[in-house]
């Protein structure tokens, strides 16, 4: 007759199993949250694909985000901008996402896009200065042309800003009043 520790562990089996289920549950929950509910990658009112537009059809960023090099904000294109191209694209007209777009156009409503890249109100950020400093859009926004749904890659927090300002030796780039207003 041998002595085994398994007998002693038997009462702990049930909690251990429950714990395992809980860990799996957490992992699946985190994955679902990240994919559908997080502010890093929110589900937009229309499943607009930057991959189709920017990569497959090679539309440059500033064709739609027209204010990026002249004003602080890059500008979300108006519905009329979308329609401007899509009215002459009968090949994709029957797709469900395009029908959604057409509905917005006919109801004369703006599309309630959810902002993914945002900075707090006490921060002054201008696209113009960064675009004119020859920064690629992808340096902050990540590989947008590969994304079907926009995901925020950078943290958009102060250490991330300051790191780049230090690295690139921006003039007075670390003075508080350069970015805080």
């Amino acid at each position: 007759m041998s002595i085994s520790v398994l007998d002693a562990l038997r009462p702990a089996r049930k909690p251990a199993l429950l714990g395992l289920v809980a860990v799996f549950g957490l992992l699946i929950g985190a994955w679902v949250h990240g994919k559908y509910f997080s502010d890093r990658s929110p589900v937009q009112p229309i499943e607009f694909s930057h991959k189709v537009h920017a990569a497959d059809n090679e539309i440059p960023c500033q064709h739609c985000h027209i204010y990026a090099d002249t004003t602080p904000v890059a500008g979300v294109p108006s519905v009329s901008k979308c329609i401007g191209c899509h009215k002459s694209l009968p090949s994709v007209r029957d797709q469900p996402e395009i029908l959604k777009l057409m509905a917005f156009w006919e109801n004369r409503e703006p599309i309630p896009w959810i902002k993914v890249h945002d900075v707090p109100d006490f921060v002054h950020f201008t696209h113009k200065r960064h675009v004119k400093a020859d920064l690629e859009c992808q340096e902050c926004h990540g590989p947008v042309e590969t994304m079907d749904r926009i995901t925020r890659v950078a943290t958009m927090r102060m250490p991330w800003c300051v790191e780049c300002h230090t690295e690139k030796n921006v003039e007075h780039g670390r003075d508080c009043w350069t970015c805080h207003k």
Partner: protein
């Protein structure tokens, strides 16, 4: 040899002690001159500042409790005895002192001197100890005792370039940093290193009907302020405290009777 090394490090340390990381020379040295001879006390500057910088209206009750917020205020004083009384005005705003007492006081460096000779106030860094307001001899720092709100249509007129401050934050005149920033931005677009004189106009200067105020870079000898500062009427408020303010007042001249 070793002694020499020790001595040089000691001298180095002593130099650092004398100048603890402050700027000696400023990139720009933003300066304002206020001609008291021209000031009529109309308070146009006060209103302009209120509109430009999202200042809250605190209401009658809180005004009585000395909790009003006015980055620039007109102080009124009287000279002479009854039959021969003269009224004087002095607009009082943050003096952006080069040796500012408030900067020494702040435990979190929410207020410090930047490379442009400006006395900064970083709202999201401020923890609201109010020490700076105690140290300020000019009484120009204001504390947000409450989070003030704007009634329905009025929030539309808030300036998007200026933060709306919250409860527990100190605030004061910034010399309209948003306008300075814009002027520098435009200068960069034109491939200019420097902002031209007269490109930065703070709200109070812009609104002054008698053009009593002038604003500019006193590092530039050709600037309007540099010339105004040399006026023999010029003086700085509370000069004896050695705060070296960036605002030069030009004395009200009286005719000898």
């Amino acid at each position: 040899m070793k002694w020499g090394n020790d001595l040089s490090t000691f001298v180095e340390k002593f130099r650092q002690y004398l100048k603890p990381g402050y700027y000696d020379e400023f990139d720009y040295h933003w300066t304002m001159t206020i001609d008291l001879d021209r000031c009529t006390g109309c308070e146009a500057c006060v209103v302009a500042c209120q509109a430009e910088n999202n200042l809250p209206i605190v209401g009658e009750k809180r005004y009585a409790q000395n909790r009003e917020i006015k980055w620039i205020r007109i102080e009124r004083y009287w000279e002479g005895e009854y039959p021969d009384v003269k009224m004087g005005f002095i607009p009082m705003l943050c003096q952006h002192c080069d040796a500012a007492p408030c900067e020494i006081a702040c435990p979190v460096f929410a207020t410090y001197h930047n490379q442009d000779g400006l006395n900064t106030q970083i709202y999201n860094r401020c923890i609201g100890t109010r020490t700076c307001a105690v140290y300020c001899p000019y009484e120009v720092r204001y504390f947000n005792w409450f989070t003030y709100t704007w009634d329905e249509p009025l929030e539309q007129q808030l300036n998007p370039d200026v933060t709306v401050r919250e409860k527990g934050v100190m605030e004061k005149c910034t010399f309209c940093i948003q306008r300075i920033r814009l002027a520098k931005d435009n200068a960069k677009d034109d491939d200019r290193r420097r902002v031209r004189d007269g490109e930065v106009v703070p709200a109070c200067v812009q609104s002054c009907p008698t053009e009593a105020m002038a604003f500019g870079d006193s590092n530039d000898p050709e600037a309007k302020v540099s010339k105004m500062m040399k006026d023999p009427r010029g003086y700085t408020v509370l000069e004896e405290l050695n705060t070296t303010p960036s605002i030069v007042y030009l004395k009200k001249a009286h005719a000898e009777s």
